[in-house]
Subunit: 663 residues, 2 copies
């Protein structure tokens, strides 16, 4: 690790990044990745522990020849030829109850009544089910012959005394607990669980329920990493938020290290000048930081330190990065320390729905949605920023683009690493432009479907329909040529025959200004004023296209070029991705005016200057059109309740044609 002074500022340079695949071996040079000891626990506490010894069967299972049915134990030779109309009569010499075995021998011509689970007495070599017998006094009529061994589980046929039943290093799931209890073991020797301390580094972090000052965010990693630890049955010791000054970090880490076997931090490890975690870790003990960063994006500022025999993992501060790195590296590492002999990666095989880009010198992790289509899993990559939180609930996992691989192609078979233990299959996937009506429609479907809603914008939604990445896309794309919404894009994007366009509703779009309109904005011409800061929408959005059309008209009427007009707007290049983001920027004073839908202005208590109405419609994947839940979605759009609920939102207009097929 190099530290050098550059123009009076301490600059830290990452110079020994380690590949994900090398973390274990590099770390292994400083820290033994093995269990911290053995303890004995009772059978009732054995679940999710890891066996520290081989377990051999001390008894046979079943411990005796056991009847699998209710019936009569017989000698097969004595019921040869028994049939429906010519039963064989046997003398019933006893009853073998569960727990009360018949202790004598069964002979030819005799039978002993037996219960399911009871001992099959000596001499008998089959049990005839009670359904095929009729008891009359001390005799029984048997209406079917029996094969030797029929309905008998012989002693030791299931588990053999002396046999190796479970190996050291086995995780005790409910299945192993069942086996151990069948052997009558009262306790088992398991590996000690590591004590793990958890702290979030960052002066900007606030706890839940606190109020945020400008520039502050809520602490996520304390909760998400501790949940991920609980998922592997480690209950962490939580130290909460630690300010990112040297002495706070030093004191918190010292305390956490003295009280735990492993300490996990997040934040405070990127290369910015304010980071001090490195210095503290090197100061606290030897050898200090041993891995100064990992060749992975996101997740580069992940550090590993060994401090006087204890392990410290420093995760990146962004929660999604922290969670992905935890799943990829820290989880298997902890499972090793917990003693698991075989650490299976949580991944599934899938087909990539769209091209993803990698890069030089770093593996890239790309969050994806898993979609099941015809027995095949499809991974649909989600465009996202590494700081994203919402991706957590949308993405099922992530794919890995290896170091120095430029891209992975659409249709390639890839491994998808799961973000949680279960693959969640959604009934319905909606990808496209964000709108409040979508959530209202989903909430009206009974029973509520398991739906994934991914807001990536109209164009990306239509592309997802074409690639089979979703069932429904919400869209409001304005065609500059026709001045109409949506319809022409089905053809333009090659979706004819692949998609069906369903009429949605209208939303009023206009200029969002601060309450009371202090800058006295009346129309787009005011955006050119020197005292007005604007916030724009992203290119490709319907709203942006509308603004540019209005500015072109303005340019034409003023006799100047569109470029001249747009260059004069302060903030023209500042692109917010959603209507609400525009409203938030205005509400927080970062801009004086933005362009967006009226309901967004209403949500933030802002004023609104209407420009026009835009059509928000639904494009449905033809392959999904027959799905019951898709039909139900369309039915809901047509319902009175939906029209009433959406119509109540300011600026929305729901017509009688909502839910009709346009194309």
């Amino acid at each position: 690790m190099g530290i050098f002074v550059w123009c009076g500022v301490l600059v830290r340079v990452f110079h020994t990044l380690v590949s994900v695949g090398d973390v274990f071996s590099v770390l292994g040079g400083y820290y033994r990745l093995e269990p911290l000891g053995v303890e004995v626990v009772g059978l009732g506490d054995a679940l999710w522990r890891v066996l520290a010894v081989d377990v051999f069967a001390p008894v046979d299972v079943p411990p005796f020849d056991r009847s699998e049915v209710d019936g009569f134990a017989v000698v097969c030779g004595g019921v040869v030829g028994a049939e429906e109309d010519s039963p064989v009569r046997l003398r019933v010499v006893g009853y073998s109850r569960i727990g009360e075995p018949f202790l004598s021998e069964v002979r030819f011509g005799e039978a002993v009544e037996v219960d399911t689970g009871a001992v099959v007495p000596r001499g008998a070599d089959a049990v005839v089910m009670v359904e095929y017998c009729r008891r009359v006094g001390d005799d029984v009529y048997v209406y079917r012959p029996a094969a030797p061994g029929e309905n008998i589980a012989f002693a030791g046929s299931d588990v053999l005394r002396g046999d190796l039943i479970l190996s050291r290093g086995t995780l005790l799931t409910p299945r192993e607990v069942a086996l151990i209890s069948a052997l009558g073991l009262r306790e088992v020797a398991v590996f000690k669980r590591p004590k793990v301390g958890l702290l979030s580094i960052g002066s900007e972090l606030r706890g839940p329920g606190e109020s945020l000052r400008y520039g502050e965010v809520f602490d996520v990693n304390t909760y998400s990493i501790s949940a991920l630890l609980r998922e592997i049955h480690i209950e962490p010791v939580i130290y909460g938020v630690v300010g990112d000054d040297y002495s706070s970090v030093f004191n918190a880490l010292s305390k956490a290290l003295s009280e735990n076997d492993v300490v996990i931090t997040s934040g405070g490890t990127s290369a910015g000048p304010t980071d001090i975690t490195y210095r503290v870790l090197d100061e606290l003990g030897t050898p200090g930081v041993v891995i100064h960063g990992v060749k992975v994006k996101p997740g580069k500022p992940t550090v590993f330190a060994v401090v006087n025999g204890k392990l410290v993992v420093g995760l990146p501060g962004f929660p999604l990065s922290a969670a992905m790195v935890f799943n990829l590296v820290v989880r298997p590492l902890l499972l090793k320390i917990m003693g698991l002999d075989v650490v299976a990666e949580r991944k599934v095989s899938s087909v990539l729905a769209d091209r993803v880009v990698g890069g030089k010198g770093k593996e890239h992790l790309i969050p994806v949605i898993l979609i099941s289509r015809g027995g095949e899993l499809i991974s649909y990559p989600i465009p996202t920023a590494s700081g994203s939180i919402s991706v957590f609930t949308v993405a099922d996992g992530f794919i890995r683009v290896p170091e120095n691989v430029g891209f992975l192609s659409e249709g390639e078979r890839v491994e998808t690493y799961l973000l949680s233990g279960d693959v969640r299959s959604s009934d319905l996937v909606v990808i496209g432009s964000h709108d409040y009506g979508v959530n209202i429609a989903l909430s009206l479907i009974k029973p509520r479907p398991s739906a994934k809603v991914v807001n990536v914008g109209s164009l990306a939604g239509l592309i997802a329909v074409g690639k089979g990445g979703c069932d429904i896309a919400g869209t409001h794309l304005l065609d500059e040529e026709t001045n109409k919404y949506n319809v022409s894009f089905i053809d333009k994007l090659g979706l004819s025959g692949k998609a069906i366009l369903i009429r949605g509703y209208s939303r009023r779009v206009g200029l969002i200004v601060q309450r009371g309109n202090p800058k006295r904005v009346v129309g787009v011409e005011d955006l050119l004023r020197g005292d007005v800061v604007f916030i724009n929408r992203n290119r490709g959005s319907g709203t942006r296209t509308l603004l540019d059309m209005l500015l072109k008209d303005l340019a034409k009427s003023s006799g100047v070029s569109f470029q001249e007009v747009s260059a004069r707007i302060k903030g023209y290049s500042l692109e917010a991705k959603t209507h609400t983001a525009v409203a938030a920027a205005v509400a927080q004073g970062r801009a004086d005016v933005g362009i967006g839908i009226e309901y967004a202005a209403d949500l933030y208590g802002l004023d609104f200057i209407p420009l026009r109405e835009e059509h928000y419609d639904f494009v449905i994947n033809s392959a999904s059109y027959g799905k019951a839940v898709v039909q139900e979605f369309i039915n809901v759009l047509r319902s009175v309740e939906f029209r009433e609920r959406l119509g109540r939102l300011r600026g929305y207009k729901v017509g009688g044609d909502v839910g009709s097929v346009l194309q």
Copy 2:
């Protein structure tokens, strides 16, 4: 439900069995399958709870325009044309630290230093990464142009204030906990968890650590069902073993019902005359038993009762049956009561490796092993008795043969219902004849592979190799014609080219008699004596073939037929499936003599009369031969350590040719 007296014994007849798919609707007529109430928990206790309300975002995430990198916030227009050899110089007017935002505006020609996660100040529309900048005093040289919005996460671009973030009925996994913490919520309203009481009914059941009397078994369901409940985050109240007399069951159920919302019992529900659970349930309250059995095998004696508004589920006594029925019916039922809106079935799509048989009027559940081959999952059915325990750790799940379907064919695509949340992929699957050497060999492979060993006998093992159901089969099949082991069966079973035969070792096989040989047995001729009870091995086993060969010789020399000889042996038709089961039968006095390997006699402290040596060899699936772990297995067979360790077991002989390729 009909009860009638037949020959003085109370007989209970199941007459209204319900299909698995109908359980919810039938039960729903008597019990509301919905949550029992709502409670508010802190964020730290929210994991694995189910949301009782829709959660709307109270804030934007991010709450401000956030820099995604360390760098300099700029106005894009001001760095147009910046390049490696012609940087643009900007005046640094401030520093936006994490949690300490720069509050003024950035203008053309200016820059503000920003940290990852810090506020991007007003006026700036991009952040240039620090890697492309050089700070000199109050200025910064920028070596790359910037695109609008580059490295900025705009306020609300991730989560929008007012948006529906999580729906009522959502399970809070680590992913949802992350999202909730990012919103700053301190607590959430969740559904109450049902209180579940658990009891095992059966006088034959003993607790762990107790000693078994003849006919008794250890209580498994208390531990396995409570582990399965913990898997869905319900901590049951355990009432332990209850004797199966009326008043014990009545008292235990009364107490459990008064203290819980739901009571789960196991055992005591089959149609045998001693069962009293039905009567107790009908007695305890109304409407009593509402489902008198389920059309599923195993699992028929599953009952559902509603007692004064509380739910009682009676599972079958056999642990595997109980666990499968729990997974199939009870788990989804409890998840509904826990408030989960969407209860996903835990299943994976797979290809069936072998034909399985169903039956009339009942769905059949067949345990299977999941094997991954070339990205495809294969389900290999395991022949098993419903009372089996070992199947728990071998089987990954089970397939369902629907009611009235005669069979499912090899190669059919089926759904495999998982026994636990994870699909376990094994490095190595060994199916075949049981032998102690297999476990020794596996224990010597470092690192120890994740191996599945399934003991189904030599012939079934060879068939599994042919069907691709395993990597290795252990076999000791004697060819009567050639009097040789194993070799000829490769051809006979059509395995030429599909399998490779590897030399194993020899085991001495003979007659196992009680210690001191009280019946003075000296050879197979003694089996014909009237005072000797024999225990045989199953047909198709090498040992059985050996015995029959010896009996044929005996018949020949005595001038009688083989049938006459075998008919004279008491217990000839009594088939034990393993050597150890034979030894156990002799040790427990159920037989005087059996046929098996010397080590089994040794394990049970019995005497042994040698007959001959048999060859135990390994047949390897050609497709698996190149696998590293298979090669490692063969290397271990050849190792000195293996030869020494196996050679120490009585009756084993390991030659210098162990591990060599025979064919």
